[in-house]
């Protein structure tokens, strides 16, 4: 979910980011062209160069902390907003009042709300996600840890595939004029975009069954030696992201070509290949960085379903089992960890922008 809209949001997001940081510099032109050596560096950040950086970083970390708090709150409230009694829901219609009361006590549901919340936060700080309600002996960490590893390896592989193919297609369709080949590629991208990953997964599964080029689902051992089990589901999953990258890059390249500095570079007499490789492409690839970071949520969600198609023990099947058996701690644990992962990757994307786009470093506070 959310995979398709990521390209628009990311493209706009990057634009907004740059715009907000550069409106500080454009604007009223400073008057005299001073001839002293010190002046002449344009806008001066308020607190001096280095502390401006510090504050920007602090602000960003504060925002992330806030979002984390929000995520924890939402996860917490999952148990609380259930219409009716959670313990009753878990135990089912035929539960005795005693067993319901026992469970409520075990889950701490009889404590005041704030105490429950605090307990949860404290536990989280220790990395404790609770114990499974179904299998009383296993902690949530044990149950979902390996599942996450598996899912993330599928996601990671899908990411690599999407990047390689997406960027290649994006460059080809971006640089060429609107000829037949370009149109065909674009049409293919539209079709890929419209096919749900699990549909594609099933088609691939069918192909695998018929032609035996890959095992038809299943899993064996650690992610590392399961490469042959990963590549097909990863390919299926990549169908969500590849066309988004390709189209976004194509759009980005065309927009970059229209920029003044490209014309200026050509007018200066720089050779075409230099202009394209050193000026057009790097600028065009900027929004793609954000795109990847922000698409991760959709990829993880898609991975959950693809896993089930291919019979891979990841968080998809783990979640399904937990939902089926109403194992709330596991459900909450998966939700929390996946949200934190997404936040982490979003923060990575922001950091990447900070590194590669100097405009983001002029902190607009």
């Amino acid at each position: 979910m959310g995979h398709v809209r990521a390209d628009r949001v990311a493209a706009r997001g990057h634009q907004e980011l740059v715009k907000s940081h550069t409106t500080m510099v454009v604007g009223a032109e400073d008057s005299s062209a001073p001839t002293t050596a010190t002046a002449g560096t344009g806008q001066r950040p308020r607190h001096g160069r280095h502390s401006g950086l510090f504050w920007a970083l602090a602000k960003r970390l504060g925002q992330i902390a806030f979002v984390l708090v929000g995520v924890i709150t939402i996860t917490f409230s999952m148990l609380q907003v259930i219409p009716g009694d959670p313990a009753r829901l878990i135990l089912g219609k035929f539960a005795t009042p005693e067993s319901v009361a026992t469970l409520r006590h075990e889950m701490g549901l009889d404590l005041p709300l704030t105490t429950q919340f605090v307990n949860m936060v404290v536990a989280l700080f220790h990395g404790d996600l609770g114990t499974s309600l179904v299998s009383r002996t296993q902690t949530v960490n044990e149950l979902i840890g390996p599942a996450f590893a598996n899912t993330m390896s599928v996601v990671g592989f899908a990411l690599v595939i999407s990047l390689v193919i997406g960027i290649a297609v994006g460059i080809i369709t971006g640089i060429r004029r609107n000829d037949a080949f370009d149109r065909v590629l674009q049409a293919v991208m539209v079709i890929l975009l419209s096919t749900p990953p699990f549909m594609f997964g099933m088609v691939l599964l069918l192909v695998a069954l018929r032609t035996k080029i890959a095992p038809a689902g299943g899993w064996h051992g650690t992610p590392v030696d399961s490469l042959k089990y990963i590549w097909l589901p990863a390919l299926a999953l990549s169908i969500a992201l590849t066309p988004v990258i390709a189209r976004s890059l194509r759009q980005s390249i065309r927009e970059t070509f229209a920029q003044d500095f490209v014309e200026a570079a050509i007018a200066r007499g720089l050779p075409r290949h230099r202009v394209v490789l050193r000026h057009v492409l790097p600028n065009s690839l900027l929004p793609i960085v954000g795109l990847i970071g922000y698409s991760l949520g959709g990829l993880i969600g898609g991975a959950a379903v693809v896993e089930i198609v291919f019979n891979i023990p990841g968080i998809g099947s783990r979640m399904m089992a937990a939902v089926g058996s109403r194992d709330f701690p596991v459900v909450q644990g998966i939700a929390l960890v996946s949200a934190v992962t997404v936040i982490f990757f979003n923060a990575l994307a922001d950091a990447a922008y900070w590194i590669i786009d100097p405009r983001t470093r002029t902190a607009a506070l």
Binding site: A33, G40, R268, G269, L270, I356
Partner: protein
């Protein structure tokens, strides 16, 4: 008469089938400075583009006339030919918008790039600094390290000039170099141009809508309106005794031409729109002296006395010199 460095002869340009320039004729002698003046939409920027071979980028093409530079016919050039001319023979200084420089490369990196590609054999680091010094930038070392968005508009403009000089061109074409800069910065930029000219005898084609700039810097002035040239001549003479009603109107419209308390003069009507040019003289709808012939027959750019020309059928009260056709 010495052969001019740059000759534009009867240039006509269309964009997507729509004529946007017609009968553009002007010339620039070596070491001369030509000011190309006109309002927005007059075609002066398009002429620049044609001059640099940048028309295909906006879907335009030359449909009539030619441009000659130092013996080469620019309008005949292919990609390879243009790559030899751009930068090395003709330097282009675009308007220094925030976007005129690659935002993710430092100024230094972009300068070094230009020097490497256009001035092989030069010592790259030293030459980059030298170029910034040529354009009178304080603290060149610091500027080299900066990113474009960290510089003020005036500094960016100077960097653009420095970049244009990297290939040691014989002609510098500057498109609105002082627009969007305030007056003191403008003055500084014009001084840079004056310096360059004095130091190396570089020829300069300055495109602007600001008559004040032209008066300061240019030997010759060419006035454009509605996609064509309406007057050419020595700056001083043209500004004292304009030979075309549009020039006269422009001069009259300057706030400095009015005394305090007097109403400012404007030119009534709206500028001519490409594709909707009237038959006959394009300025006729707004001209206070328009006669019947003005509306039916387009006046050609005809030479007058003393190296001046104008495209007008004439109006009563014109001075002798400005109206006698050679």
């Amino acid at each position: 008469m010495t052969t001019d460095l740059l000759t534009i002869d009867g240039l006509g340009v269309e964009i997507g089938g729509l004529p946007v320039l017609s009968e553009v004729t002007l010339s620039l002698p070596s070491h001369g400075v030509l000011g190309l003046v006109g309002e927005t939409g007059s075609g002066k920027s398009l002429t620049c583009r044609a001059l640099m071979g940048l028309l295909p980028r906006i879907g335009g093409k030359v449909v009539a006339g030619s441009i000659g530079f130092d013996g080469t016919t620019l309008t005949d050039l292919d990609d390879r030919g243009w790559s030899r001319v751009r930068g090395g023979q003709i330097g282009f200084v675009p308007q220094a918008s925030l976007n005129a420089l690659d935002p993710v490369m430092t100024v230094g990196a972009q300068l070094r790039e230009s020097v490497r590609h256009l001035d092989p054999g030069a010592e790259v680091m030293a030459r980059s600094r030298e170029l910034l010094e040529l354009v009178r930038l304080p603290n060149p070392q610091g500027v080299l390290r900066r990113y474009p968005h960290e510089l003020s508009g005036g500094m960016r403009q100077r960097v653009m000039i420095a970049l244009a000089l990297a290939g040691r061109p014989r002609l510098l074409v500057a498109d609105e170099p002082t627009t969007a800069l305030d007056v003191t910065v403008q003055k500084a930029i014009l001084e840079v141009f004056a310096d360059l000219r004095a130091a190396s005898g570089m020829s300069l084609l300055l495109v602007t809508h600001d008559l004040g700039v032209v008066a300061d810097v240019a030997d010759t002035i060419a006035v454009m309106y509605g996609g064509t040239v309406v007057e050419v001549g020595n700056t001083g003479k043209v500004m004292r005794e304009p030979a075309h009603p549009y020039t006269a109107a422009l001069l009259g419209a300057r706030p400095t031409s009015r005394a305090q308390g007097e109403r400012l003069v404007t030119i009534p009507g709206v500028p001519a729109v490409p594709g909707q040019w009237p038959t006959g003289c394009r300025f006729a709808p707004r001209c206070p002296h328009a006669r019947d012939v003005c509306r039916t027959e387009q006046p050609a750019l005809l030479p007058l006395t003393g190296d001046r020309s104008s495209a007008c059928h004439g109006w009563p009260g014109q001075s002798e010199e400005a109206s006698t056709n050679v």
